[in-house]
């Protein structure tokens, strides 16, 4: 199958959507399909061979981070040229309802179009104001995918359509084979956390409270923390004697994330809310690390209702400390969790996920006539 994928964000900047597009493209190529990815960017140096740069990108603050978007006449021309020369059987755009390359591609194309929605954005005034224009974009889309239940609900409630839920994939092999950081996890046990530890919803303070309690009667128990933030904020309220047992890695690359997850005896996701899927849990499971997570709906689902990881009541530091103590004391229980987690996480392997995406492509192709072509204005039909 000839597949054209559009990524709205520049691929040389790390990010959830970019990783998703890259992994999906590589999985599809590995299955023998021909894939071209159109993404913002000026030249193709350092980009994978299947990526086509669509022109200069403009940094835009969006959803708490800086995204680089392409939108303008030059990009529009490149989109048309890419579509015309690609002869795609299906066009797959990501995040098409923000003004981006994806939206341009949808508006320039005719034929089978599949869209994936990643963000669980809430309804905004802007969105309500442009609903009529949005309808023009939405009705060009043949089939919609949401990566989480939350993103799917947003579809149903705000955009007036439904979406087929296909979770984010995990490159299992990459996590399973990563080398632990030197000296980790060590003989006295180590616990891991990844995320913005200054953000209350990530629940890091709960983990810190639980860890301080455990570390007081378990000498040498270490805490490995990855994620952006001021070191002082992470160490707040920690007794001076224990401070050097907390190791802060700062913001980590994808490679270091995999290594970090392999470096601990337990991974903890103490989030108190706001998590739409729990990607990090599938990654920890792929890395073969037992997971302890708060009992949010998304986590409960990923952890197979507690069979593939330990769930504790969200916000309860005592319960978290107890759960961690039990796990740290029982290598047998950890091994059992890891084994069940391996079974659960195999459903998230990119190969499996890409098969599901191909089914959506097939459905879109059945519903539209012909292949993807550029929309020539003025010809009407």
């Amino acid at each position: 199958m000839r597949i054209g994928i559009v990524c709205p964000y520049s691929l040389d900047v790390p990010g959830g959507v970019q990783n998703h597009v890259r992994d999906l493209a590589e999985a599809l190529i590995g299955m023998g399909h021909s894939v071209s990815v159109l993404a913002p960017g000026e030249d193709d140096s350092g980009l994978p061979p299947y990526v086509v740069p669509a022109g200069r990108s403009v940094p835009v603050r969006y959803n708490g981070s800086v995204a680089r978007l392409s939108f303008g006449p030059i990009s529009a021309t490149r989109v048309r040229r890419w579509l015309a020369s690609g002869h795609f059987d299906v066009l797959h755009v990501h995040e098409p309802v923000t003004p981006s390359l994806s939206m341009l591609a949808v508006l320039s194309a005719r034929g089978p179009v599949v869209a994936t929605f990643h963000t669980a954005m809430t309804r905004s005034r802007t969105m309500a104001a442009v609903q009529g224009m949005l309808q023009l974009v939405l009705e060009r889309i043949t089939a919609r995918i949401a990566v989480s239940d939350l993103a799917r609900k947003v579809q149903v409630e705000h955009l007036g359509g439904s979406a087929w839920e296909i979770p984010n994939g995990v490159a299992i092999a990459r996590f399973a084979t990563a080398t632990p950081l030197p000296g980790w996890p060590g003989p006295d046990g180590a616990i891991g956390f990844l995320g913005r530890y200054t953000e209350p919803r990530k629940g890091f303070d709960l983990l810190r409270t639980a860890w301080v309690r455990l570390a007081s009667d378990r000498p040498g128990l270490r805490l490995l923390v990855a994620g952006p933030g001021e070191p002082e904020a992470a160490l707040e309220g920690v007794p001076a004697a224990l401070r050097d047992q907390i190791v802060l890695l700062g913001k980590v690359s994808e490679t270091d994330k995999a290594r970090m997850l392999r470096s601990v005896d337990c991974y903890v996701a103490p989030n108190t809310g706001g998590e739409s899927f729990g990607m990090i849990l599938t990654e920890a499971m792929a890395a073969g690390t037992p997971v302890v997570a708060s009992d949010l709906d998304a986590f409960r689902r990923v952890l197979d209702a507690g069979r593939a990881g330990v769930l504790f009541p969200a916000g309860d530091a005592d319960a978290l400390a107890r759960a961690l103590a039990t796990l740290l004391d029982s290598p047998k229980r950890r091994a059992a969790l890891v084994e069940r987690a391996a079974g659960v996480v195999s459903a998230y392997d990119w190969r499996v996920v890409a098969e599901r995406v191909l089914e959506v492509y097939a459905t879109a192709i059945e519903v539209e006539v012909g292949t993807v072509v550029t929309d020539e204005p003025d010809t009407g039909s």
Partner: protein, 189 residues
Amino acid sequence: MRDMGWMVVVVLAAVLLSLYVTWTAGRVDRLHARAAAADAALDAHLVRRAAAAASLAEAAQHVPLMYAARIALDVPSQDREAAENDLTRQLRAVVAPDDPAFSAVISANRRVALARQVHTDVVRDALRARRRFTVRVLRLAVKHPVPTYFDIDDPTLDRAARPVTVLRKVRRSTDGAVPDASQPAPGHA
């Protein structure tokens, strides 16, 4: 001179209007062609699922499933929705979602669910286009039959995969009952 100016304005307006009408007519045709194709695709996937269920029933000597599959294949179109719901219920009773022995029927069933969801979306888009003022006044849609929803329960077999209770917001639109393909109907999930 002033007359010339008016002429230009009138001609320009006429050109723009005719462009808009042509564009709208093309849009209406496209949405209806897509709805018709979605209908054919959904039909094909339903037949495939019933055939897979029939061969499973034969292999397992399961008489109720056999009947449900045969009825789904032969039923007249006005009774089809009920027959397909019945087949879904029979499949749920028989199929273990994780057992590879059922993979053919599980995969056929998933394609039904997907085809039906896309069908619902494209029918909704076509119906919405039909309600547009220009389309109604110029009768741009009369040559197309009115697309209809295929109103069956969410045919998911894996009951654990999706929560039964989902937020359901009443939409402002005048569609009347808009079945939501992605959510199980109360009482059957």
